[in-house]
Symmetry: C2
Amino acid sequence: MSKFAVMAIKLYGHPLSAPVQSVMFCLEEKALQYEFVHIDLPTGQHKKEPFLSISPFGKVPALQDGDLKLFESRAITRYLAHNYADKGTPLMPSDPKKMALVSVWMEVESNIFEDTISKLSYGHQEKLGKILEVYEARLAESKYLGGEEFSLADLHHLPVINYLSGTLFDGKPNMSAWYAAMLARPAWQKVVERMKHSTKK
Amino acid sequence: MSKFAVMAIKLYGHPLSAPVQSVMFCLEEKALQYEFVHIDLPTGQHKKEPFLSISPFGKVPALQDGDLKLFESRAITRYLAHNYADKGTPLMPSDPKKMALVSVWMEVESNIFEDTISKLSYGHQEKLGKILEVYEARLAESKYLGGEEFSLADLHHLPVINYLSGTLFDGKPNMSAWYAAMLARPAWQKVVERMKHSTKK
């Protein structure tokens, strides 16, 4: 098999975009080789062809795997988890009931957590506090958000949390322990390295 | 088997909530019997116990299937599609690449379509117009949003579209044909019946 074949996955994006970081995190957890195609957001490269032919709404990330073109970070990571189920870290349980709980907490990240954090500058601090209480209670029930194993549910939270103050989880022992475990993952450290490299440019 | 066993699925919500309608639509497509537990939103029943023990953020819908408690509509419909794959209409392909495209268009509904429609009163009409152009192009490529078959990607759009004017798709033949096909689905008509019944109360 040619070297080209193993580099068939292309990730299009910018390393400072949180959803792009989620996909990088996922690719590292799955131990998949990939080519990072830099899309220059400041010059609006994401709003022009040829990028629009992969991501028609002009949003990063996008992913190409052979002839499959995908966009929307959570759809991409679900695909990687299912299609490469036997590679790297399992990120999505095959049991439908366990899978359902991972989906619940992926939706919470998208519709409740990320949504509130993106509005923090509009005074949603109190709302975030109440949300974190539910998280703290969830992590008293199970080791990770989606269940007893690390999954896509945890993975998608990290780039968003990374925007916030490190004191966010003060007084929340379950969340603090969970966050420390997230930061320690070698796959996340590889993402952080790539972000640093990008900032220096 | 007792009659109780076949009524093991409970859907908690209000029939006029769009995400609740998505789950009803899904349950009807899957030909699953279920008990509808009315949660009275005007009196804040969703923000109190015992509902909070099923849906800790106090949001409808929630679903109980045996001892499994789920919330977030898209997580619930994914669960129903996977766990009852052999019942009623197949709503999620098993092939990972086909499944990925359904996920892409579920994410588009959540993060782009529904998000823009919920902000229409803030002058997002132009943005919606551009979004619908991408949809029209998508439906030139494939019969349904997620691929050649009806899927969760289509299903989640309908309750949101239902809020809008019927002229939304004027001049968009692919979207008009798709919308007509959606409205004609017997499962959707059952949801509409339940909504009418609720309005009369």
